[in-house]
Amino acid sequence: MSTSVLYDEPGPRARLRHRFVGIATIGLIVAFVAFTIYRFSETGQFEPLKWKQFEYEAIQLQLLHGLLATLEAAGTAAALALIFGGVFASARISDAWIFRAPATFLVELFRAIPLLILIFFGYYVPLQYGLHISNFWALVAGLTVYNGSVLAEIIRAGIAAIPSGQSEAAYALGMQKGQVVRLILLPQAIRSMLPSIIGQLVVLLKDTALGFIITYPELLYVGKQMGSRLAFDLPYVPTYLVIAAIYIGMCAIMSAFANWLAKRGDGKRSPAPAPRP
């Protein structure tokens, strides 16, 4: 009955033991949650004053602007990264080395540099030469080249995972490489790639939170400002709780969609590489 590698269907004694371990674990969780709530109320985190700011329209609007700024950066970067990934993936599978070699080099390079450093490049290098790039475009540029490179790799691997018989049959029908990729390989590859691509877009959305380091007014930046308000007795904990709920909510919906797609797929083909955190 059991399909696990690791254990059989438990018998009566094992079930008793599992129930004991389960109850002990729940006890620990309850103790942990109770401790957290106790400490937070002890240090006054649940005092009405600390939460009062969320009742003001100005504050709600500020939060909304932060969310919109996050979504704007993430949306722009996602669109550009998908284009970047598509272009570089097709260059990487090209037969002409003049396209393949530089594309491979750039993809490997961008994946090896920390995202924050890429964002710094977009922000500070133009400044050095007297050009001012807004922090929005610096953030988007960094997110695009980093996640675009990872996407290029996902797309390339997805195409490579299609059985070779597919392209051989297409070539035998007299199709050209472009046709084979466009008509035969991509439609099949997209099915297996889509969960990984959405997973990578979740990573991209999360990474917009780095924008606060170059003072892009995204959600976390807004949160830091709201948390440091003396008028509301430094409501760091309430603010971060609210912001965490927003982030986790958005990302969890996307992740759930990716999981649903992955389950819906045939599951026989080896999936594309996992997203890179």
Partner: protein
């Protein structure tokens, strides 16, 4: 050209200090997240439903949380829990908490590749869950997932730069220090990138090597 090299030699103190901290963050973060990740993976495949649920909840919440937010929470909210934590230990903890969720999922996918017969044979010899997992299944699982694990650790190495936003003087923070000294930012960023590549490229090569060497034919 000479100025370009001077950017490194004149500020060697900051560069060496920054990259030493990065290395420290990487090593401690790697040990921490591998340990916690293994424990989480054990929970997720255990026969006890509550442990499985707890492991799944952890992974689902943390994987959907920005690393920056984990940092922010440790720095600003943890003191309210009575846990006074300095910036650098906060960075180790944040990297561990975050990366462990990804390590756990990688390990779990490795466990799923081990043929059921291996576990059945071990159980037929009378082994317990722990023995089956740690003596038979995990060693085989590790071997298949070492390349993706290295890739996760590589990502963690790059994620250490996030600590720059939280007053930790690691490689990502060098730039801020040197811009105060009036150094050329382009040169500075180039040297930081070069420094990272000297860490990252060997890891990538090791990953490629192990991928070929340890490929398991099943």
């Amino acid at each position: 050209m000479l100025e370009f090299f001077r950017t490194l030699t004149n500020n060697w103190d900051i560069f060496s200090r920054g990259f030493f901290t990065t290395l420290k963050l990487f090593v401690i973060g790697a040990v921490g997240s591998l340990t916690v990740g293994t424990i989480l993976a054990t929970m997720r495949v255990s026969p006890v439903p509550v442990l499985r649920g707890l492991g799944a909840a952890y992974v689902n919440i943390i994987r959907n949380t920005p690393l920056t937010l984990v940092f922010a929470f440790l720095v600003f909210a943890a003191p309210k829990l009575g846990i006074e934590i300095a910036f650098e230990p906060a960075a180790y903890t944040a990297l561990t908490i975050y990366t462990a969720a990804f390590i756990c999922e990688t390990l779990r996918s490795g466990i799923n590749t081990v043929p059921v017969g291996q576990g059945e044979a071990a159980r037929a010899l009378g082994m317990t869950f722990g023995q089956v997992l740690y003596l038979i299944v995990l060693p085989q699982a590790f071997r298949t997932v070492v390349p993706p694990l290295i890739s996760m650790l590589n990502a963690m190495l790059k994620n250490t730069t996030v600590a720059a936003g939280f007053s930790v003087v690691e490689a990502g923070a060098i730039q801020a220090y040197l811009s105060e000294r009036g150094e050329n930012q382009v040169y500075t960023l180039f040297w930081i990138t070069f420094g990272f590549l000297t860490f990252v490229v060997p890891l990538i090569l090791l990953q490629r090597f192990l991928e070929r060497r340890w490929a398991v034919v099943r």
